[in-house]
Amino acid sequence: QGREGGRLSSSGELFVLTYGALVAQLCKDYEKDEDVNTCLDRMGYGIGVRLIDDFLARSAVKKCRSYSETADMIAQVAFKMYLGVTPTVSCSSAAGNEFSLILDKNPLVDFVEELPAERASLCYCNLLCGVIRGALEMVHLPAEVTFLQDRLKGDAVTEIGITFLRKAEDRNGLVTTT
């Protein structure tokens, strides 16, 4: 009643509210924003290392042959599957191992207007970074994943940065994925 179309289903709302309760509780448990961020990232990592199997089973994708394909896969298949949104991907380094995902819509922050004043450095969705990092690690693609920009902090867009770390064997610069 009174809600626009395009809103989440009831189970989607429950998920968003649960995530919010999780962040709120962590804020009560930890004084420093950095500690909450670390905790969210760690939790996300735990989810990611398990979620990857679910993802691979459900999406039946073929192996990605490049970092770029991997980034596209994350944005267009994984995000779509689990959050119902498709961030735009762009490569942000000449070396071809840094990518940025720009989230136009982010259902996790549907009900959060802005961060509380005392939580200005909180990365509210840091769980997502951990999930991506954990999932990539399980397919032997270690990476650093962080929020580069965050609308909740007043930035123009919300942007996740993925930096694929070259494996020690890649001395000749070739990109190999297993």
């Binding site: 709120a24 009900f111 207007e113």
Partner: protein, 109 residues
Amino acid sequence: TVHTSLDVVDEKISAMGKALVDQRELYLGLLYPTEDYKVYGYVTNSKVKFVMVVDSSNTALRDNEIRSMFRKLHNSYTDIMCNPFYNPGDRIHSRAFDNMVNSMMMQVC
């Protein structure tokens, strides 16, 4: 004025008894008129009370408009409740809520 009207709200709620509550019954209507103001009431089925005080000189305001204003307030209120950083009972500090209220006020003034 507002405190007295809250008593009237409580009276009306207890008078409703155990009737099934639907949208029309959430709206309590004109609570009581004074010389300067008219006070309208609305209560949610979670017993949250909204009280609207309108200047008596504003005779153009129709019942329908008041009902829809209460409905918008109710919807915005539930959105605020979903904010994980909002503690029920706190003062509301939401820009979206303020914007909604301001635009409503401008429509009727």
